[in-house]
């Protein structure tokens, strides 16, 4: 049995930042189903928010207000306050580690405008900020190789919970197919999101809800899963991300008639309104037949920025356009559509990354979570651009610190190795024994289509009910899927099947929570309840597993500084 003081699952920004904290005093295992440098944090482009005030005066209060308003007042404000206050310090720390940031003429970290932020506070590295930070952290992890053991290409199946505390995880070495138990005094999940549930998504193939569902199956509720962010600028049909920085630098959104339609939806902020508002505006234009050529896309127009500016600030975007659709944004506009991007909800934690097991805040001992898989909640009903890299960095550090403090005073829990291993071995054997009458590919495609069409940017009761029913039917068909690779060695097929199982579970949780929330707030928009309803729904959803069904409970929002007001831009 492998043992570590602290075991971290996921090696993106949150996971690596947590590892760097823990390794100061204890030994860490850092487990990832890819390689640390291939984590999806690296795909983040536009920036990381902090009120440094390097190009315009700024304050944490303004950052906090923008975040709370952007989140449609569902954010827990005590957490938001600590989060935005920590922002400048963590950015300077990243810089000291060696992260490469774009600079102002006087040598400071450059900052640009972003949707929903009233000041230019996005620190950036051209249009590959996530990549720059991910690699800077990876460099530090390699430097600390003595106390951080990396498990690349290992898959996490399940949590081990014994007597009310978490004492390890069940994993597979993807390369050898070996199932192992990793025993740890504390486990940190930094497993990312679940955009892959939707047909059009900016997310990597790896974004399959593994962490959220492992927690859920261990009896932990999921918080606010109905709040999924659709990014306004995913490449048409493919969802490949074109950073919001393109609009931050001055890009226009044009409908099929060539109009800057944001004038109608958010006249004061135009293209730089928060993402939920821009994505809805785009979808409204498309639904009204004003997409380009009547198709399901609109244009992102950067031509007026000029080649020099594009090459300095947005070089990667230009290359993506050329490589993926043969469009050079210097000369032509890019076809885009709303694409599933970020999960505001997730595994509920307190503001120190401690996972809570219920709506009363009871801690699940030894279990911590940070980054996109967690819900603190600082993003409320809609996350602002550049706040996620900040979330992963701030809460990665805090959660690492919490896990460290906990593990220092804890003993390893008792667990029965062979009994635990059997849980996974039986699951894999069951997959190999299925009758094979269904195609997993069909099931996956149908899930993605139904979630996009019925639980996407616009939702209503009828569609959501039908969505839940469809997903349940797909879950039945999933039990009869056809597997072709029954080998041990680097069997990617079997992990894809397990991931699909996780996604189906997640899809049901998202749509069920969306059905119950009869209001419109942030990323969750109900055409049958188009207004926000603070009377009934100024509260967090908690979805519990209960005898194979889902049970919904709610928890009040923490409001400190900013009382909910009407949200206009």
């Amino acid at each position: 049995m492998i043992k570590h003081d602290v075991l971290i699952v996921g090696a993106g920004l949150a996971g690596q930042r947590a590892a760097l904290e823990v390794c100061k005093e204890l030994d860490v295992g850092l487990l990832t189903k890819v390689y640390p440098s291939r984590s999806h944090s690296g795909a983040a482009q536009g920036g990381i928010a902090a009120s440094l005030g390097n190009s315009e005066e700024d304050s944490w209060e303004e950052h906090m207000f923008d975040t709370v308003k952007g989140g449609d007042y569902l954010s827990d404000q005590d957490a938001v306050e600590e989060y935005v206050k920590a922002a400048p310090r963590v950015i300077y720390e990243l810089e000291h580690m060696g992260c490469a940031f774009s600079r102002t003429d006087d040598g400071k970290i450059a900052q640009r405008s972003f949707g929903g932020h009233s000041k230019p506070r996005a620190c950036f590295s051209a249009d590959r900020t996530g990549h720059a930070i991910l690699h800077a952290l990876h460099e530090q992890v390699l430097k600390n190789a003595k106390s951080i053991k990396i498990y690349s290409e290992w898959y996490m199946h399940q949590l081990v919970i014994e007597e009310g505390r978490c004492c390890g995880v069940l994993v597979s070495n993807i390369r050898t197919g070996e199932v192992e138990v990793i025993q740890a005094k504390a486990v940190v999940f930094a497993t990312g999101g679940y955009g892959r549930v939707f047909q059009i998504t900016t997310n990597a193939f790896a974004g399959t809800a593994d962490g959220a569902i492992a927690a859920f199956r261990a009896g932990i509720p999921l918080e606010d899963p109905e709040f999924v962010q659709f990014h306004p600028s995913g490449l048409y049909r493919q969802g490949i991300l074109f950073s919001e920085a393109a609009r931050g630098e001055g890009g226009y959104l044009l409908n099929g008639k060539g109009d800057r339609f944001m004038e109608q939806y958010a006249p004061s902020r135009m293209e730089l309104a928060p993402r939920d508002i821009v994505a809805r505006a785009e979808q409204s234009e498309i639904d009204a037949g004003r997409g380009v050529n009547g198709e399901d896309y609109i244009f992102l127009d950067l031509r007026h920025l000029g080649e020099a500016r594009i090459m300095e600030r947005l070089p990667q975007i230009r290359q993506l356009g050329i490589d993926f659709i043969g469009v050079d944004c210097v000369k032509e506009p890019l076809p885009i559509q709303p694409s599933a991007h970020y999960s505001m909800g997730g595994i509920p934690t307190d503001k120190f990354g401690q996972v809570v097991a219920d709506e009363n805040g009871t801690p699940m001992k030894g279990f911590f979570a940070a980054g996109e898989c967690a819900c603190v909640s600082v993003h409320g009903a809609n996350r602002l651009g550049t706040n996620s890299l900040l979330d992963a960095t701030v809460f990665g550090e805090r959660t690492g610190r919490s896990a460290l403090e906990y593990a220092k005073n804890a003993e390893c829990g008792e667990l029965n190795e062979s009994h635990q291993k059997a849980r996974v071995l039986n699951q894999i054997e069951e997959i190999f024994q299925r009758d094979g009458s269904e195609s997993y590919n069909d099931i996956r495609n149908e899930m993605k289509q139904v979630m996009m069409a019925k639980c996407g940017v616009f939702r209503d009761e009828e569609n959501l009910k039908s969505c839940v029913a469809s997903i349940r039917a797909l879950k039945e068909r999933y039990k009869k899927g056809k597997v072709t690779d029954k080998g041990q060695l680097f069997n990617t097929e079997v992990y894809e099947i397990i991931e699909l199982g996780n996604m189906l579970e997640m899809a049901e949780i998202i749509s069920t929570a969306a059905l119950a929330r009869k209001e419109s707030r942030g990323g969750h928009y109900r055409t049958d309840f188009p207004k926000r309803d603070d009377q009934e729904f100024l509260k967090h959803t908690f979805v519990y597993p209960k005898d194979g069904e889902l049970e919904l409970k709610y928890k009040p929002v923490v409001i400190t500084r900013y009382q909910p007001k009407e949200r206009t831009y």
Binding site: V34, Y35, S37, R38, S39, H40, G42, A43, I91, Y92, E95, H96, M97, G98, A100, F101, S102, R103, T104, D105, D106, G107, K108, I109, S125, A126, R128, H131, A132, H135, E139, L142, K143, A145, A204, F205, A206, Q238, I240, L241, Q316, Q319, L320, D323, F324, I325, G326, S439, Y440, N441, V483, T484, D485, G487, Q488, L489, F490, N491, T492, E493
Partner: protein, 314 residues
């Protein structure tokens, strides 16, 4: 209809690799990765390869298409069909052991990254705010920091093919990312390390890594940056640097290479063992009548060559 001719290997089933063909009509705009996914999900679930972001930033899906390393997600499949040929040959990355099908073992690749101490070295206490760095200084590391560690350059590196001891283009580009960083304080130590056998001077300037790099990292140009820093820092007590200096000296002197002198100057006049190593080569050349002329004559317009040196410096 296109034929995807894929190199398969699964030691659990069969000890030798073989090629298998799959027919698939490439949809408009489909990337090579889209096609492989179609094959895996509809024709043969055992087909094994890595992938994740499908937007050319994670570096997972490196493989060879028609003999050259590429990122499957970045390549339009139709672009691999040339001159009426309907077959696309897909193979695993080179210079690495294969685990299964298109998945290769990256262990050595990462070990070499580790060897260049891939992290900022600066023992000074950091300021309260950010360290200053001008846009011009940032520019020096801008390209190197775009590296995604996909292994395409490593796969097709001609030096690695014959010398496994070579650090390889990716690790050297990573080294340049710190040597070029105004905030890093270990330039001299780094350059000394990189000047050892297997380091930057073992690059043969073939430029293959620049062709294969899917990002602006273009390792050979980073290696050239490193060599320039090496000469500027005066870290010249090694074969590679001496070779470069002797090369320049010869061209400046006579407008052409003095092929008798360069090997000796590269080895160093006091490097007895190195010089003795040259003897058998010299003798073989003598026997085959391949010895360059003993009397080295300058080119006719040597004055013009020298003027170039005067105008541009060395």
């Amino acid at each position: 209809m296109a034929k995807f001719r894929i190199k398969r290997y699964n030691p659990e089933k069969q000890s030798d690799p073989y090629y298998e063909e799959f027919d698939y009509d490439i949809p408009e705009g489909a990337t090579l990765l889209d096609c492989l996914n179609h094959i895996k999900w509809n024709m043969d679930g055992t087909l094994t390869y890595r992938m994740s972001c499908r937007s050319a930033i994670c570096g997972s899906c490196g493989m060879k298409g028609n003999g050259h390393a590429l990122l499957a997600c970045q390549k339009q499949a139709a672009h691999l069909l040339k001159d009426g040929n309907d077959t696309i040959t897909i193979e695993p990355l080179g210079n690495m052991p294969v685990i299964k099908d298109l998945a290769t073992d990256f262990q050595q690749f990462w070990e070499k990254i580790d060897q260049v101490k891939p992290y900022l070295q600066n023992k000074e206490k950091p300021p309260e705010l950010e360290r200053g760095q001008s846009p011009q200084q940032f520019k020096k590391i801008d390209d190197a920091t775009t590296c995604i560690m996909c292994g395409a350059c490593y796969s097709d590196c001609n030096v690695l093919e014959v010398d496994n001891n070579f650090l390889g283009p990716a690790a050297l580009a990573k080294a340049q990312r710190f040597v070029g960083d105004s905030r890093d304080k270990a330039t001299r130590e780094r350059i000394k390390e990189l000047s050892k056998p297997g380091g930057m001077w073992d690059c043969t300037h073939c430029g293959e890594c620049v062709e294969r790099c899917p990002k602006p990292a273009e390792p050979f140009y980073r290696i050239k940056d490193l060599m320039a820093v090496g000469l500027k820092e005066g870290v010249t007590n090694n074969v590679g640097a001496r070779h470069a200096l002797s090369f320049v000296k010869s061209v400046k002197h006579s407008g052409r290479l003095n092929e008798n002198k360069i090997p000796v100057e590269s080895m160093g006049y006091f490097n007895i063992k190195g010089l003795l190593d040259l003897v058998p080569v010299g003798l073989r050349m003598l026997l085959k009548m391949k010895i360059p002329p003993i009397i080295h004559k300058p080119v006719d317009d040597v004055k013009d060559v020298q003027r170039i040196f005067e105008e541009f410096g060395e």
